[in-house]
């Protein structure tokens, strides 16, 4: 794998994480449990879509095959996506959605802070922009997880169930592979494995405050960021997300 290929793969991971989570969160638009939450989720999704445009736009530029951010978002099939499995899982209830957001926001703020120091100026610039938004998202998802965990008997039970269901998808965020190694080597990106202690430092105290028990298994599902084995949920999501461009290729407005 050349450094250019690794960089393209890495940018797809950044872009696809933002795109897939952004699309999932946007599914709440109009149906969230309260108006304020609906607006907050829609705004979060919007930030993620903006970040997607920047990351996938740069990915297309690096690839040099003339593919735009839109081409990459709407014309690839499931096996070409490079997002974390955690992010393609269906939303479940509001508690699951916020737990997923919290687990990812904590990781994303750390990853973006590392990318701000990237030797690739284009990446450092996008990261600096995205970090402001991710920090704001984390502030909200953290407080919401704590409030719902340390809430009523029912909300606590739902948050514990959300944590138990999503914990096996946490490990993939920190699992480094050859693409990560190439990025670390070139000074482009931080080593994801090295972000774990800082992530624990954000997440574990919050879960404790939320009165939730952290599952003791370290088992981690893999196959999203390298595209080897996505869950069955991604394809279903893409049929909705890509429908218009598939039915009417090249449609614009």
């Amino acid at each position: 794998m050349t450094e250019k290929d690794a960089l393209f793969e890495y940018l797809l991971r950044l872009g696809d994480n933002a795109l897939i989570l952004g699309h999932r969160v946007s599914e709440w638009c109009g149906v969230a449990p309260a108006l304020e939450e609906d607006i907050a989720l829609a705004n979060t999704a919007l930030d993620l879509m903006g970040q997607t445009q920047m990351w996938l736009g740069l990915a297309g530029e690096v690839e040099g095959a003339g593919r735009s951010a839109d081409d990459l978002a709407f014309l690839r099939d499931a096996w070409d996506f490079r997002n974390l499995l955690l992010l393609e899982r269906p939303n479940g209830d509001f508690g699951q959605t916020m737990m997923r957001q919290f687990l990812f926001d904590a990781f994303q703020t750390l990853a973006l802070a590392g990318l701000e120091a990237s030797t690739d100026q284009r990446i450092a610039d996008i990261a600096a922009k995205a970090l402001k938004e991710a920090t704001y998202h984390l502030e909200r998802s953290r407080v919401t997880v704590i409030a719902l965990g340390d809430g009523t008997e029912e909300s606590r039970a739902r948050m514990q169930a959300a944590l138990d269901a999503q914990w096996p998808y946490v490990g993939e965020m920190f699992a480094a592979d050859a693409v990560d190694a190439a990025m670390v080597e070139a000074g482009i990106a931080p080593d994801p494995a090295a972000l774990r202690p800082a992530w624990d430092g954000i997440v574990l105290p919050a879960l404790h405050e939320a009165t939730l028990s952290v599952p003791d298994s370290d088992f981690a599902h893999r196959g999203g960021k390298d595209g080897v084995r996505h869950t069955e949920h991604l394809g279903h999501m893409l049929t909705t997300m890509q429908w218009l461009q598939r039915a009417y290729p090249g449609a614009t407005w």
Binding site: E37, I39, A40, A45, L46, D47, L48, K129, E133
Partner: protein, 164 residues
């Protein structure tokens, strides 16, 4: 001979960048029309590159849907002033911060009923009655740049311009 005279004429009539900034100060933000795109701090640079006027614009939030409308409004405003050769470039670094909001913009926001951003992360008073007893309703609001607050004195809800 005629061509020479024409080009000299062009040079003389070319707007200064200060003049262009003044014109841009007349372009309202599409979502908060009481402030201009200059007040918002998103016009980062105005330069002549040869005969082309280049305006560098930075987005407030990366997914803000107003960004493309703003670029179109700027282009329309400058074309109406007779500038045909222009280019609008998106500049993402340094990342936009609400610190770039002008003092005039801050005052106009408050008059309009939107509490201006503050470093402490929340408004110091209600934009309607100026009471200081205010509380946050939600971290997010009707546009990416706003949050929802409420005054406990006059009981009116109000928008707060997020500080980022």
């Amino acid at each position: 001979m005629a061509a020479t005279r024409l080009s000299r004429c062009d040079v003389v009539s070319r707007a200064t960048t200060e003049q262009v900034r003044e014109w841009l100060d007349g372009v309202p933000d599409p979502e908060i029309p009481v402030i201009s795109v200059v007040d918002l701090g998103i016009v980062r640079d105005v330069t002549w590159q040869g005969d082309t006027l280049e305006v560098a614009v930075t987005p407030t939030y990366s997914g803000c849907p107003a960004t493309s409308v703003i670029a179109m409004d700027i282009e329309t405003a400058l074309r109406n002033r007779g500038i045909d050769d222009l280019r609008i470039v998106t500049q993402i670094a340094p990342a936009w911060t609400s610190d770039w909001l002008s003092d005039k913009g801050r005052a106009r926001l408050e008059e309009y009923g939107i509490a201006p951003p503050r470093a402490s992360g929340g408004p110091d008073r209600c934009p309607h009655c100026h009471a200081q007893d205010v509380e946050r309703v939600s971290q997010f609001g009707s546009t990416p740049c706003k949050a929802q607050w409420r005054c406990r004195e006059c009981l009116e809800p109000f928008d707060y311009f997020k500080c980022i």
